[in-house]
Amino acid sequence: MSKPKPQDLFDLLAKFDDVSESTVTSTRLPTILHDAVRVAVALGMDTSANDATNQALRDRVDSFALRLALDEHFREYPEARPSLAQVAIAAARLDGDPLGEEVELVTQAAEEIIERSPDAKPDDVLIYASALARHRQPRRSRTSAA
């Protein structure tokens, strides 16, 4: 079998929602993981251990394929890569976080945090932006409070 290409994976992904035959396979699981899945299913995680395994694998493959697709896309169109601030703003908007509308603040947070931590994640930016926002809020003066 020749080495598969990303496109081979993309073609299979396009058929994920089609009705397909199933393949019985055996997987060696650590006993603790096996027991944990059984208990988690009993507690309502999924309808069965089989569904849980399928969904977890599908999410992994989906996520991996998307990373491959993004890598290809950014190789071809480097200018398409969003900044850390843009990814953080998009995250906030998906989460319904008011920081999603604070573009200037989040951009400042991203610029400052990336200087200290080049591997910062969008959530790190939003937590930092949240702290900046609190710092900016006017504080009650001690004299007027007295």
Binding site: D59, A90, R93, L94, G96, D97, P98, L126
Partner: protein, 146 residues
Amino acid sequence: MPRPRERAESVILDCEAVQALMSATHPKHQAVIATMMNAANPRPGQRRLPRVIVPVAVRVEAGWDRTQPGSALVNVLSHATDWPLTASRADEATTLRVATGVSVVDATVGQAARESTKPVAIVTSDTGDMHRLAAHIDGIVRVARL
């Protein structure tokens, strides 16, 4: 502004979101790529990846034919599931359209939002119409501006 918030379980793309995804030269391409990057990365503790949905009428209006060779990358980048328009969904979309005065295609976006697992995030640049739709839908429906 506390973090983290509950990430959307369902992400629905409107017409401009799809068009922005399809064209690397679209002014909102980076923003929609940023949204897709978030949708493909589960939060710690998040049960599963959000389901990305594209109502079929949106695909038609945006000119997204999944079978065209040029669509292969977009098919993966969006990792979106088609939301077919059935007779009962058409009835619901009609009700939403009459109640809100939005376009036919936007009404199908609203119908998808109504039926999808909450919280829902509608990715759009047409925030006014989507807020009107969201006001007619039970549960958390966020309007994630591009």
